[in-house]
C-alpha cells in the first residue's frame, strides 16, 4: 500500500489540457488547405505548357507565388499535425519521441526548401 490520499494519487493525471489547440488548428488548416489546393488544381489544369519557361513564368508571378507560399505553410502545418497523430497512435515510449523529432525535422526542412525556392523564383528575375 502506497502512502498518500486517493486524491493525491490522481492529481495531475487525466487530460493533458492542450489537445484542443491541435484539434482546432487541424480543422482550420483543413479549410485553408481546401481553398489553396482548389487553386493549385485549377492552376495546373490551366497551364498552357509544363516546359521550364512557362512553369517559371507562372511561379514568378505574385498571383501564383503568394498562394503557393501560403499553400506550403498551410498544407505542411496540417501535415505535421496529422503525422503526429499517426505516430502517437502506433508508436510507444522512446520510438515515439524519436519519430516525432524526425518527423518535425522532415517537415521543417522541406518547408524551408519550398519557401526558399518560391522566393528565389519570385525575386530571382529571369533565370
Amino acid at each position: 500500500m502506497r502512502s498518500g490520499t486517493a486524491i493525491g494519487r490522481v492529481r495531475g493525471l487525466g487530460s493533458a489540457k492542450s489537445g484542443t489547440h491541435h484539434w482546432l488548428n487541424q480543422r482550420l488548416t483543413a479549410g485553408s488547405n481546401f481553398l489553396l489546393v482548389v487553386w493549385l488544381l485549377i492552376s495546373i489544369l490551366r497551364q498552357p505548357s509544363f516546359d521550364y519557361a512557362s512553369v517559371h513564368l507562372w511561379l514568378a508571378n505574385p498571383w501564383a507565388a503568394i498562394p503557393m507560399a501560403m499553400l506550403v505553410a498551410s498544407v505542411f502545418y496540417h501535415m505535421r499535425l496529422g503525422l503526429q497523430v499517426v505516430i502517437e497512435d502506433y508508436e510507444q515510449d522512446q520510438n515515439r519521441v524519436a519519430l516525432l523529432v524526425v518527423m518535425n525535422l522532415f517537415v521543417f526542412t522541406i518547408a524551408a526548401i519550398a519557401i526558399f525556392s518560391i522566393l528565389k523564383i519570385a525575386f530571382g528575375g529571369a533565370a
Binding site: 500500500m1 502506497r2 494519487r9 493525471l13 480543422r27 479549410g31 521550364y52 501535415m79 510507444q92 525556392s117
Partner: protein, 193 residues
Amino acid sequence: MRPCVKSVKGRLAALRPSPACHPGPQSISPRDLHPVGVFTIGVSANQPDFRLFEDLPLAARNTARPLSPHLQIWKWGPNMLVSILHRATGTGMATVGAALLVWFLAAVAAGPESYATFRDVFTVESGRLNIIGYVVGIGLTACLFQHMANGIRHLFMDVGAGFELKSNKRQAQATIVFAVVMTVAFWLYLGIK
C-alpha cells in the same frame, strides 16, 4: 479470419464480440487487466480485483494487457474503409506528395537543367507522361480527392451531423464516388486539353 460482428445495430453492439471468436475470461488472468478496467472485453463476469494493483505505479504500462479488437475483428463497411483510407492517403501525400512538391519547386528555382532532370523522371521524349508519371500522378490525385471529400465529411461530423447509421454509411460511400469521379474528370480534362 471471418469477422465476428455480423450485424452492427449501434456502437454498443459493435463493441460486444461474440464468444465463439474470443478466448473469454478463462485465458486472461486478472494480473493482465488494467486496474481501471476501461476496456475489459469478455471479462464482465470477472471484475479485476483492484487490491492486486495497489503496489503498482499508476503510470506503468502493462504490456501483457489484452489489446482492444483490431482490423481483423470488425466487419468491413464503407465508414471503416474511408476512415482507414483517410489516414493512408494523408500519410501518402505527406511523404510522397510533399517530397515531390518540394522537388518540383526546388528544380524550377535551380534552373532549366534541374527542371529537365525532374521532368525526365516522369515524362517521355515528347513531353507526355511515362508509366511512373501516370502511376504517381493518378495515385496522388486520387489520394487528394479521397482525403478532401472525407475531410469535408469530417467537418460535418465535427459539428455533430451525419452520425445516423444509414446517412453515415451513405456519406462514406459518397466520398469514394467523389474521389473516383473527380480523378477521372481531372485526368480527362488534362488529357484532351
